[in-house]
Amino acid sequence: MSFLTKVYYSFLRPILASKRATIGFIITIGFILMAIIGPEIVPLDLTTRYELRFQPPSLEHPLGTDFAGRDTFAQIVHGSREVLLIAFLAALYAILIAISVGMTSGYIGGKVDLALMSIVDIFLTIPNFPIMLAIAATFRVSDPASFAAIISIWMWAGLSRAIRAEIMSLKQKEFIEASKVLGMSNFHIIFRELMPNVFPYILINFITMIRAAITASVGIMFLGVVPFKITHWGVMLNLALFQSGAIYFKEGIYYALSPLIFIVLLEFGAVNLSHGLEEVFNPRLKTYE
């Protein structure tokens, strides 16, 4: 089977089978496109023009203007890149750590499992948001990768436990015993037998993590802790609510709400995609044929 056909069958067809997943997928793809091509198409003009501030939506400014007379829509489009990039990287780092820890712990068991899970427990008990805030403020991170790293540190722990549990239950299954009796290596068992079974679970969690990362990053920026690009939606929110007095003006509402709406829309897309995928992957194993 060619690569494209494989992708179609493993990814697209399951997604299109569920309404929820399809809606989520479309929204998510829309945002990804916005992040990739958007900034090339929509010009960003950051010159201040006070006379144009807090304008309502019009053809020229689809979402109106901000407190300095600059086009809100352009800022959103440009900001989407950072938002998505940070969220994607954070989720990626977290997933990689969670898989390594979870699978090792679950498969090897014994003392290794005990040691790793103690570490996980520490991470689970410390309240993550305040700590993330503190670290971000202390280290004044300014590039997406490091910022993503900080967020990811507090996201991997829960998933690693869940992966470990999955692996432990799969380990007991007869087809794993069969693989051992057939003399297959541990490498084969972990990557060729166990992985394909946890993969749907990991994929769904990956999307959930992206959502959580968006919330976390927006939250941190919103609190004004990190000096980031002003087009990042979190920063926009911060500026909107705290620094520009937008909420005090009736006209400012468009500016204040825009980043919020886009954040909600993106999370809505991600949630539906992950729920839809869940629907799709579970009953698939019980299909009649």
Partner: protein
């Protein structure tokens, strides 16, 4: 027609709503359970027999629907009755012993309480003392020591003992028909044999009609008088037990009997059935068995056969037995 039918299923259709569409697991099935006998229904997994009894007892899962047909109990259609009328019949006149029923006993109730609760749920006429007296009689009938068992919790009893308790429980309301779904699964050989003997004794003493549904042909061989055979959602043959085993008419029945090994007798004539069980999403046209049938004819691929009477003991849904072919 037989003397009097206790239960009659007419052209029943049961469908399940699944992702791929509608799955027809029972497709215009018809059979009669006459009064005063032990009747069997045999079929392999996926043939629809469990769904058939679920339809009778009203225990279909949420995505199961009865879309056609009638289920007549003593002439009255259960599917057209009101909820109240149904309650009086299901579990009172028709009782059921489910598969692996041992697991349906409530772990926090003593066995005596199970009996009392069951009676209370249906008619509050009997006093507790009377219920327990009756329960003791029934427990003795299934060779259990009444005092010990009534005071026990389910986990204190073995699998075989629990199964016998369930049978006794099903009889507490004096039903006229007892339906049993795989009554001996997961039990060891001795217990299986003992339970089948007990069922026969109960049938003789209490004159209860029984309907035993199973994939295990030896059960039917041992205690049933008559049996139906089900394949891919359809009833293909109804005959008395000796005819079924020694002189079956339907090619599927014949092939099935030949595919069962035994501890006795010559094994060289045993043959597996070629091919595979049919898909219920895309069943074969005409007679469902035609792709695997050694006697297949053109008409079998096109039209579903109706029932033909081979003699007064045997009805079969197969074109080989139409008047033209037999004459």
């Amino acid at each position: 027609m037989s003397k009097s039918s206790l239960l009659e299923v007419k052209e029943l259709v049961v469908e399940y709503a699944v992702r791929e569409g509608r799955l027809r697991v029972v497709d215009r099935a018809s059979l009669e359970v006459p009064e005063g006998i032990i009747m069997g229904l045999v079929g392999e997994s996926g043939c629809g027999k469990s769904s058939l009894i679920d339809a009778i007892m009203g225990t279909l899962p949420p995505n199961g629907y009865i879309t056609q047909g009638q289920i007549l109990f003593k002439g009255k259609d259960l599917l057209k009755m009101s909820k109240n009328e149904l309650r009086k019949i299901r579990w009172e006149k028709i009782a059921m012993v489910f598969q692996a029923a041992q697991n349906s006993l409530n772990p926090v109730l003593k066995i005596s309480e199970h009996f009392i609760e069951t009676v209370k749920a249906h008619n509050g006429n009997l006093s507790n003392k009377d219920v327990l007296r009756k329960a003791s009689e029934l427990l003795e009938m299934v060779k259990l020591e009444p005092q010990t068992v009534l005071n026990s919790y389910p986990h204190e009893l073995s699998g075989g003992m629990k199964q016998r308790v369930i049978i006794a429980l099903s009889l507490i309301l004096d039903p006229e028909l007892l339906i049993l779904d795989e009554p001996t699964s997961a039990l060891d050989t001795f217990t299986q044999s003992a339970i089948l003997d007990m069922l026969k004794e109960i049938y003789r003493n209490k004159r209860i009609s029984m309907f035993i549904v199973t994939h295990d042909l030896p059960i039917v061989a041992k205690i049933a008088h008559k049996s139906a055979v089900m394949y891919a959602g359809k009833i293909v043959e109804i005959a008395d037990v000796r005819t079924l085993f020694y002189n079956p008419s339907h090619p599927y029945t014949k092939a099935l009997i030949e595919a069962i090994p035994s501890i006795v007798g010559d094994l060289s004539n045993r043959k597996p059935i070629p091919g595979n069980p049919p898909s219920l999403l895309n069943p074969p046209s005409g007679c469902r068995f035609h792709p695997r049938c050694p006697y297949v004819m053109e008409i079998c691929k096109e039209k579903e056969p109706p029932f033909f009477e081979v003699d007064d003991k045997d009805k079969v849904a197969c074109w080989l037995y139409s008047k033209e072919n037999r004459g």
